[in-house]
């Protein structure tokens, strides 16, 4: 285990074993940090920026892309903020730690890079207005008109040792708040986060791959989420789905795994951007087939049902080996689905332990 793995584990889990406290220590206690409360309204552009009094926060973009020849690609661009303490120390002493993940997935390849940075010195950060989120040379920058939401038009770029991408993201639909006006419940015990998305991006741009540059178009989804204790202590990980239906509707669904049945939740988003939180039991996700990826047995084929919306689809991954071999390893990759409502999207699976460890 690399130093950094431990380092980040510790920064989040504060010296307790990762297993016992959920993925990446997200289930640890949040003493001193602000807790999400129901009824708070989002305030933009301020909420696009960082919330340093919360322990954990992310800016998360996934995109389903294709080249002119029809070849499919997926990209991920993520910036995590993690606070080690609540004090507002500046410079090198700032307790704000930043972590970036970027990836391009093809049907036979998965290119990953990650970055770490200290807050307080300008190496990474997020400014709300004008909106820019960055770590090192990776950038998500607004080029929205002054009267539009800052996130409605973004330039997104990242580069690793063997890949790079430069994308333009544009949306003419509103932001979508999940849960109760953005208060997204994560467990029966009341763990929650603030959570909103922009799932309506149209994408154009260029990927740089070992085979050379590829011009791509497609659709993208941005998630913004922050909390101080998003997982309950017994929750070990999650399976998260973002789905673009061919008909223009979107579905966000997740299942938090614990010792029992787990906690499932989701949001149905109509083609014009109206969000509808799914009631308990309104969505069902069922693993159909497991595959061994990175010494772990991962459910790689799923059935997703939302009977109320006429959704009954079977999901398959573009590349079953979309393993993010980062400090906190997890599976994240593009998917497509067939059934009553076909489409494409992204699947994220975290907290699966190597077989030998179980």
């Amino acid at each position: 285990m690399s130093v950094k793995t431990l380092l980040f584990c510790l920064s989040l889990a504060l010296s307790t074993p990762v297993h016992a406290q959920g993925f990446a220590g997200l289930g640890t206690s949040a003493e001193g940090f602000t807790m999400p409360v129901p009824g708070r309204r989002f305030s933009f552009p301020a909420d696009h920026g960082a919330h340093n009094d919360f322990r954990i926060e992310w800016w998360y973009v996934t995109a389903n892309l294709q080249a002119v020849d029809g070849t499919r690609y997926g990209i991920q661009w993520t910036l995590f903020r993690s606070a080690l303490a609540t004090d507002g120390a500046t410079g090198w002493a700032s307790p704000q730690m930043w972590m970036g993940h970027a990836a391009i997935t093809t049907s036979d390849g998965h290119h990953v890079a990650e970055r770490f940075a200290r807050g307080g010195i300008g190496q990474a950060g997020v400014t709300a207005a004008p909106f820019e989120a960055w770590i090192d040379a990776w950038r998500m920058k607004s080029r929205a008109a002054a009267n539009a939401d800052a996130l409605s038009a973004l330039d997104l770029s990242a580069a690793g040792a063997d890949f790079a991408f430069d994308l333009k993201l544009d949306s003419d639909r509103p932001l979508v708040a999940h849960g109760d006006g953005g208060y997204s419940l994560k467990s029966e015990k009341g763990q929650a986060s603030y959570y909103y998305s922009q799932p309506f991006y149209r994408v154009t741009g260029e990927l740089t791959l070992p085979g050379g540059p590829v011009t791509v178009t497609g659709q993208a989804w941005l998630d913004r989420e922050w909390s101080s204790q998003p997982l309950a202590a017994d929750q070990v990980g999650w399976d998260w789905f973002s789905m673009h239906f061919d008909g223009g509707e979107k579905l966000m669904g997740f299942r938090l795994r614990d010792g029992g049945a787990g906690f499932t939740s989701g949001t149905w988003i109509s083609a014009d951007g109206v969000a509808e939180p799914l009631k308990r039991g309104a969505i069902a996700v069922t693993p159909l087939r497991n595959a061994v990826v990175a010494q772990r047995s991962l459910p790689i084929r799923w059935r997703v049902e939302v009977p109320g919306k006429g959704v009954d689809v079977t999901i398959q991954a573009l590349n079953e080996n979309a393993w993010m071999a980062t400090a906190f390893p997890y599976w994240e990759g593009p998917i497509s689905f067939d059934g009553t409502k076909p489409g494409r999207g992204y699947l994220e699976m975290t907290g699966y332990m190597p077989t030998a460890d179980r």
């Binding site: 690399s2 130093v3 950094k4 431990l6 380092l7 584990c9 510790l10 920064s11 504060l14 010296s15 080690l84 303490a85 120390a89 410079g91 090198w92 002493a93 307790p95 730690m97 890079a113 770490f116 940075a117 200290r118 010195i121 300008g122 190496q123 960055w134 090192d136 040379a137 580069a159 690793g160 040792a161 063997d162 890949f163 790079a164 740089t208």
Partner: protein
């Protein structure tokens, strides 16, 4: 076979002293060799560690051409341009009496190759980055720092001694360098689409990984010196083994013959003899290596002090037992035994089966052998002369040493023979004639031991002269160099200016000691600024200088360089050097700068601040009348709360320097004494050997009426004469050695040349010591002779040995 072995071993039971000599000789030889090896490997391990600190041996770095610090904004700019780099701030910080090398790192971006510290394994990142931070140090450093006002200490194996690893933010506070970094570690794998370095940070250059490290290079000659000494000691030790083994073979000739006659094949006999020798070698080797570790443990603290004083290298004072040192020690013991026994083994192999055993001296050397040795000696000495004239470099220095020592060793028997012949020619009485002739007769058997004595003596004279010359020069030099009454290191700029204002009316002068580090002519160089003051004009130890040198330097039109820089880069007064940043200036003078391995340049203080506006302005020399110095120091401490160790007076500074100096040569002194002891033992072994063999020569003299007592006294006299002759021969050799050390080896190894002084009292002491040692070695055999049963002497006439 078993019978043969029992028979062979029975010999040692009957000759325990011989066995002891063999084992002790071999053990001692191995011990000195192993001690030097253990010390060297300890030091080298710590250099390798230092070189590997933060992966410097594997990672390229980005830094300023002159090595100066730069703004961390450059780091952020590079990161934001795609460069995977990690910042390091490096500097020295004193805690109590311990000066530490502080490395400030950013654990989040440190490349895996640089992760000596597993920060997360032993504590939280938060603690590491939050004031006051955490110090990661070696266990040894942790012990030293206990009780000092440091942040919490974490002891980690693998961190070099004297090094602190802490967060860069804390390091910036500690080193008074807010927002500054020293260099950037470059990740081996870089992302695509990086901007060009010249666009983002035109000031920075990329430096390839340094696998050896400065320390290993700087100290190379020091360790070569030690190795040479170890080897000399080993060679001297082998003389002992050679004579003990030779004697054993000689005495067992009848036994070998009987065994062969009884049907033991030559091959088997050889096998058994080899087995016996190997057993001894392994036994003595083990004892030797263990003893070597003990010696090394004794010497290492001084060696460590030397390395710290001379090179700034931090070597832990504790010795670690390493398998490779054991293996090497055992191997060299076995190898040495076989070499020493080769002659004897050959004799066993060629033993004529049926010819009657003839008594003969085992090391009978004919006149011809001596002539051949003389020819070889002449060739070697000629080679030495040629190397001295045309050779250059450290290796040439050592080749010269080897040729000279070997040549002298080869020439010794001829010289002694000449001396003894002269003695014989001068004497009239029959008994005196016999005495000289007998001495000549014994010379071949003793010449090896005498050679050992010669080498040990010469090494003692040579090294002793070098050290004493150095001391004499050093003491004079330090008088000049430490001319100011007080030296003060303030803690920050505010304090510095307050102290200066305060001192203005209370002292005769406050002279800045400001410097920056950088590269001049490709060498790591400290550049000092100097004020135009009588202190320097009157006292500074200048070797060569242009007229009005101080005016030239003060006006900013010239620079002084130290002897090291001058010699290594063959720079002299009138030549031009380029300072970091590109400023060119002419050399106005060269000064001596002992005890400093690095290059140094001095320019006018105004020029220094003009060229390097960021120069740290914290240190000053204070001129005040000597009787007021103590009070002023006390006053400074109480007024400004300056810590004890930040103000040092001239006397203390001199004492400290001399202490460092003395410790530096404690090791050479110790090795000298040990080598001499080994040589005395070799003498003893040889005399013992001869005592057993020369009964046939002594018996007739006894039979003619010379008493055993008289014979024994003559034995003693003979040893005296030989020792005196050897000591006389050792003197010029030792002085030659000293000259080589001072004029060639020191210049190459340290960069300075010292004048040679002569110390006759010291030579006399050594000569007396060696003669006494010889006499002592001769005492036992002489005593035996005086107590020998007449029947033993009679037997010489009765039976054939």
């Amino acid at each position: 076979m078993k019978t043969a072995l029992t028979a062979l071993l029975s010999h040692w039971r009957r000759h325990p002293v011989q066995l002891a000599t063999l084992l002790v000789g071999l053990s001692l030889a191995t011990a000195l060799w192993s001690a030097v090896q253990a010390i060297n490997s300890e030091a080298r391990t710590s250099y390798a560690r230092a070189a590997a600190t933060l992966g410097q041996d594997q990672l390229s770095t980005l830094l300023r051409k002159d090595g100066s610090r730069f703004d961390q904004k450059i780091y952020v700019a590079l990161r934001r341009a795609g460069w995977l780099v990690s910042p390091v701030l490096e500097g020295d910080k004193r805690f109590g009496e311990h000066r530490l090398r502080v490395f400030g790192i950013d654990p989040l971006t440190t490349p895996p190759q640089a992760q000596a510290v597993n920060i997360a394994a032993s504590g939280a990142l938060l603690e590491f980055i939050s004031p006051p931070g955490v110090f990661y140090v070696s266990p040894e450093t942790a012990t030293k720092l206990a009780g000092q006002a440091t942040p919490p200490l974490r002891a980690i194996d693998g961190i070099p001694s004297g090094v602190v690893i802490t967060d860069i933010g804390q390091a910036q506070v500690l080193l008074g360098a807010p927002g500054q970094i020293s260099r950037l570690l470059l990740w081996p794998e870089q992302p695509q689409r990086r901007a060009a370095l010249s666009d983002i940070a035109p000031d920075l250059i990329e430096r390839a990984p340094d696998e050896t490290g400065d320390l290993a290079r700087l100290t190379d000659s020091f360790h070569l010196n030690l190795t040479a000494f170890g080897f000399l000691a080993f060679a001297v030790g082998l003389f002992i083994v050679h004579s003990a083994v030779g004697l054993a073979f000689e005495q067992r000739r009848p036994m070998f013959r009987t065994l062969r006659a009884l049907g033991v094949p030559a091959r088997s006999l050889m096998g058994v003899v080899c087995l016996e020798l190997l057993t001894f070698a392994v036994l003595a080797g083990m004892v030797g290596v263990a003893l070597g570790y003990a010696i090394a443990a004794m010497l290492l603290p001084d060696v460590a002090a030397t390395l710290r004083g001379l090179y700034g290298a931090s070597v832990p004072g504790a010795i670690v037992v390493r398998p490779e040192t054991w293996a090497l020690g055992m191997a060299i013991a076995v190898f040495g035994t076989l070499i020493s026994a080769a002659q004897g083994l050959f004799g066993v192999w060629r033993l004529p089966l049926l010819a009657s055993a003839q008594p003969r001296a085992w090391a009978q050397a004919s006149r011809q052998t001596i002539i051949w040795q003389l020819v070889a000696a002449a060739a070697l000495l000629a080679a030495a002369a040629i190397i001295a004239r045309y050779g250059s470099g450290l290796m040439a220095g050592f080749a010269l040493l080897a040729a000279l020592l070997l040549g002298a060793a080869m020439a010794l028997p001829a010289l002694l023979l000449a001396g003894l012949s002269a003695g014989g020619a001068l004497s009239k009485s029959a008994i005196a004639q016999w005495f000289w002739a007998d001495a000549r007769q014994q010379l071949p058997g003793l010449s090896l031991a005498l050679t050992a004595m010669l080498l040990a003596l010469a090494a003692n004279i040579g090294v002793g002269t070098m050290v004493s010359s150095f001391r004499q020069t050093f003491v004079g030099w330090i008088e000049q160099r430490l001319a100011s009454e007080l030296y003060i290191a303030t803690r920050d700029d505010t304090e510095a200016s307050a102290v200066r204002t305060w001192l203005a009316s209370r002292s005769d002068a406050v002279l800045p000691i400001w410097n920056v580090d950088g590269e001049v002519e490709g060498m790591r160089t400290a550049i000092f600024g100097i004020a135009d003051h009588a202190t320097y004009r009157d006292k500074w130890p200048m070797l060569t200088a242009s007229p009005n040198v101080w005016q030239v330097v003060a006006s900013g039109d010239g620079a002084l360089i130290n002897e090291q820089l001058s010699r290594r880069k063959t720079l002299n007064v009138g030549d031009t050097i380029t300072l970091p940043g590109g400023y060119k200036t002419r050399i106005a003078g060269v000064y001596s700068d002992y005890g400093n391995p690095n290059a140094q340049v001095i320019i006018g203080v105004d020029k220094l601040t003009e060229l390097f506006p960021d120069v740290s302005r914290l240190r000053y020399a204070i001129r005040v009348s000597p009787e007021k110095a103590q009070d002023l120091a006390a006053n400074l401490r109480s007024t400004f709360g300056i810590p004890e160790q930040n103000i040092i007076d001239q006397t203390t500074a001199k004492e400290l320097s001399l202490q460092t100096f003395e410790r530096t040569f404690k090791v050479t002194g110790a090795l000298n004494v040990l080598t001499l002891a080994v040589a005395a033992l070799a003498m003893f072994a040889s005399l013992l050997t001869l005592a057993g063999m020369r009964l046939p020569q002594v018996a007739p003299v006894w039979a003619m009426g010379v008493t055993r007592r008289r014979l024994a006294v003559m034995e003693l006299w003979r040893s005296f004469v030989l020792a005196i002759l050897t000591a006389i021969a050792a003197l010029p050799l030792g002085l030659g050695l000293a000259w080589i050390l001072l004029a060639i080896v020191n210049v190459e190894a340290f960069g300075w040349r010292l004048p040679m002084y002569y110390f006759p009292a010291e030579w006399l002491r050594l000569a007396v010591l060696s003669i006494l040692a010889t006499a002592l070695a001769a005492a036992l055999p002489a005593w035996w002779l005086s107590r020998l049963a007449p029947s033993e002497l009679l037997r010489v006439f009765a039976n054939e040995r």
